[in-house]
Subunit: 298 residues, 5 copies
């Protein structure tokens, strides 16, 4: 996530860091070259170009805006749902902390360290890293390391412990159901994160919009070159910047758990949970909260 | 579901597999032919065509974009809700696995195999295949094979078992209500999937948009031919590609549980559940996760 | 609900059944006549018409598209919410069937027949028919026939029975709360269906859009007649078809429980519930599922 | 709420009652006068007006449509949420009626009369009338009349009674939690209605859109007068009718609990609750349901 | 929050207070200067400017409207979710008040003062002030002042008290779970407010829209100057007012808990909670409700 204050006037023009510009500079160059070719060709053969009307391009451009807006809406909704899910993780972690306050100290330690292990495992799973390596500092997973879904095994472990506590009579069945609700909520967070991470926006959508946007931006200069000459460059580049920029941004937000600058700060959220859980367990020496590097919080 | 990484520049132009292009190539051909006729006719009778203005077409085109965007929104929402429902199925399956950890081994086996049977039955039901054949490898359905809704009968079976366990005193009433909540959640997944599968977007909507899009794309070349000559082909085909493509895509997403390339990977999701349930039952020899065939995961 | 497969090319052009066309053919005729008058007037007095520009009409048309899209969105959301509510009714009916599996046979019969009575009563209430006549085949409502809300009285009856079972000790308080949850869910379905049915989209919205669409479509030919002559008919009719069609469709979806072709198949859904409940009670001789008549499922 | 059937063709043109027209007739007169001035000025100084192009106005008009649509969406969502909340109030009232069926008669009477008092108090609170006067016919509020939130005090009273019943052992703790859930749901309805009523759409939004719409409609005639002469009046008034009308409607829906024609029929909903509660208490002499006055239900 | 009635005609033109105008007056001045330069340049070199067509600008302007509308939608949704969360806080506070009515007086006082402390702590946390200073007047936080999340520690305190009451047998486990539900709901409000407050809309979005809007408004006068001369100022300023205004408003709503005029009245909401809690505890001398200062409620 990019952490910046509202851009002032000069920032709007000059900011590069945090902008989508570097990602699309190649395509913008292509459009610039095409525009130059169109203008030169128009000066050579004015007859042909005079006939190309801008009206069909207005039509395509507007249709493209409407559909692009739909795609951006969708990708943003995925990103924001991802953030909401990690918010729910925090709620369940804190609630587990609160609802186990009077449990025996070592039971409680196991459960809260389990929450940390779960958060670390989920972060690793979503970012394609080793879940086992992420979980091990918190709990001893032992034989469960072989199961297809190690992060879920952490929840099974916590669930087993709660069932045992209920069977032993340490907690009432109602208290069990209150605590199990939190575990179920963690389970929901995991499955929903996996859903977002493994089910992208239908590929044909992205492809159709990529294609239409590219063909449109390449053709546009030819429709303008005949009438406005070298001024063609300005609107052609501004339109290309807007369309390619929103397309690239939509792509970044589509997988909100990745490493790209606009993705969610999964590690920072995980650290928040670690700090709060350790503090609940009475530790004084907490790991520091994560800081943005070059305005980016990971 | 189509499984591909973000298209690079050359992919955008050349990818056929995963594109919606093959599905609409016939209609695009029609538009090309109509465009050619329009241009030839315009060269023959320039007087008539000079009078056709492009402005009413801009108006229709924009209105069409707005309404098409509404339809796509709706179809995408159905597709994504379908995915969410299978996500809930996974949550309930995992939670049932966790909440039954201390039940007697054979009771637990029955319940978790029931979950597998339910997932297989639901997948078969949504894809118009034999539910009984899908369920039988997991549980012995016996006389229930005659009821109108076999997949729901699997849940009834699991519910009956839970009620018996409660009556016998093996689980407390609260524990029963926690487990029954998961069964109810599976029931909800089934009814909601049936809702999406059996209630399409109102037919008159689709028909009205199909018709308007087709008439619009057929008429457009005539409005351009008089002024831009053979250049007509370019915008006419680009617009037809966008409108027909989005229409075809909307149609694919409308029934998210089908077999078309952009439909949900129902079998792969079902396999995920089978693998996790079997692993929870201590099996080592799990069926492998499904792999995409020609970039398509079924 | 109209039950049809995706229209093929010839269907798009020729389908009448299931189309919105018959409903708006009168208004389309009006627009055709107005167009003809406009063209004839333009040929008589070319000077006046040459001055009417199409640009303000483009502006009105786009604004109208945006607002019409908003209304359609709203009406579709009402229709889909109506379908979701009947889906919830099915979930609760199945869950009640499952959760009462071990109750005494006659208690269970009363409850499940009560669900059928409720579904029939609700369907009758939403479609303006006699609730009492619809409920009586299922349960003996007796003195409750006088209360202002007979369908709700069915739920009261079921609730009273559950309370009695709990007081007698036949079910535990927890089991009561699980079953009462299903009754409450049925109650929610009823109140939400009544909400949709009795609170239309604000009348002034519909009126404003009807008016603007009508005036716009009547005025449009005059803006085109001067420049495109008899070609005026084509865009004028296409635009009128789109706007009037979407307006009529929106009106059909606004009250999703009615009898119009695109309304929800309330009777078919009711029949589904009856079949499943009777099957749960061990009946073999089930009423057949409803079939579409002339592609329409009621 | 305006209660009318779908307008027929003549209604569309002639209906005044239920239309937004009376509310905006002053502004429309202003636009008519401005248009006349513009036309006369254009006839006097044709040179100046010939230079004013309509294109920037198309741009502003489209932008305005998009933003206006956003505002209408928002206001409609508030109105519909208001209706949903009163629907939830009805669900909770009916459920309380059902779940208390076996309580001692006088306890039940107190609770159900409490629901009526709550509904009346909430209606009065939302419409700026005396809560105490509205509640007193139903329950004797006594010393609670002094608290800052009298309507909430009714819920406190009901909650205290339920707690007492539980402490006395008349109801089990589970039954208490089922009943308390309904009270909490009433509490949620109140807080959410207060939220809608006391937090309008940000003032700067409304102001910006009011301003832009007014300046736009005043300037538009000047851009048309040069080319279309007295025809200016038609599009100028149609556009002003659409924009001013939607703006006024949005304003009516923004506070859905008010007295304006398109506001929710809060009194009729309250009466529905009174009738059902009294009928549950065995009364025969129910107050009649409310009838629309001049097509408006209050 | 700005508290004003609907603006009358003169207000629309003259209101400054509550308008977004002061915030964007600098940028509007820039556009005025650029417009003047464009007109003067066009008078000097009419040949060059005659060639600049307005059509590409229409296209960019419409695309910008569509994307801007998306951003405003998003920011408004954040603002409204913020308001909903504080509404939930009020519901939980009132419900806690009701559900603890029969607890021992001093236990109840601790819990309700805890709610006030939580509301004050959350308000301080969201507005970047000292949480400890805000909480201390209500409860003695003692050693908990050192933990990373002091406001959450207030909930832990309340949760511990409830667990103790359950262990002592003062409340039943069910009653505990009802009360703990309210605490969890407060916990959810806190985590969701932190989510909105700490995760802004992706920076690259805002930057891309700021940039495109600025470049567009600077370039627009050049496209108009050639044809409409000094009239350029009017549409250029109106468009700049709309785009810059909505951009600035979106920025204000993006962080709904700030101090800017259109932000939520967090302090007034907090005061409402304090008043109701103190009144429930039998206090007569309540702090007065907050009043708007210069039409702004903080």
């Amino acid at each position: 996530m990019i952490v910046r204050s509202k851009p002032r006037l000069q920032d709007i023009l000059l900011t590069v860091n945090g902008s989508i510009l570097p990602r699309i500079v190649g395509k913008l160059g292509l459009i610039a070259v095409v525009s130059a070719i169109a203008v030169l060709a128009a000066q050579e053969h004015p007859g042909i170009f005079a006939r190309i009307s801008a009206i069909p391009f207005t039509l395509i451009g507007i249709a493209l805006s409407v559909f692009m807006s739909f795609r951006n809406n969708t990708c943003y909704a995925r990103w924001w749902e991802g953030r909401q899910l990690w918010g729910e993780l925090i709620i369940s972690a804190r609630s587990l902390g609160r609802e186990t306050l009077l449990l025996p100290e070592d039971e409680r330690r196991e459960l809260l360290r389990g929450v940390c292990g779960f958060a670390c495992g989920l972060a690793a799973r979503l970012r394609g890293q080793s879940e086992i390596a992420a979980i091990e500092p918190w709990i001893d997973i032992g034989s469960e390391a072989e199961v297809p879904n190690v992060t879920n095994a952490v929840l099974d472990r916590m669930g087993r412990r709660l069932l045992t506590l209920m069977q032993e009579g340490s907690i009432t069945p109602i208290h069990y159901s209150v605590l199990e609700d939190e575990i179920r909520s963690l389970s929901k967070v995991q499955a929903a994160c996996e859903r977002i991470s493994m089910t992208p926006v239908p590929f044909a959508y992205s492809l159709l919009l990529h294609r239409t946007a590219l063909i449109f931006c390449v053709m546009l200069p030819f429709s303008l070159a005949g009438s406005v000459g070298w001024w063609t460059l300005l609107p052609a580049l501004l339109i290309a910047y807007t369309f390619f920029g929103l397309d690239a941004l939509g792509h970044e937000l589509e997988d909100p758990f990745g490493f790209e600058p606009n993705c969610l700060p999964v590690y920072a959220l995980k650290r928040t949970i670690e700090r709060e859980m350790l503090s609940l367990l009475g530790e004084r020496d907490l790991p520091p909260p994560m800081k943005p590097e070059k305005s980016i919080l990971h």
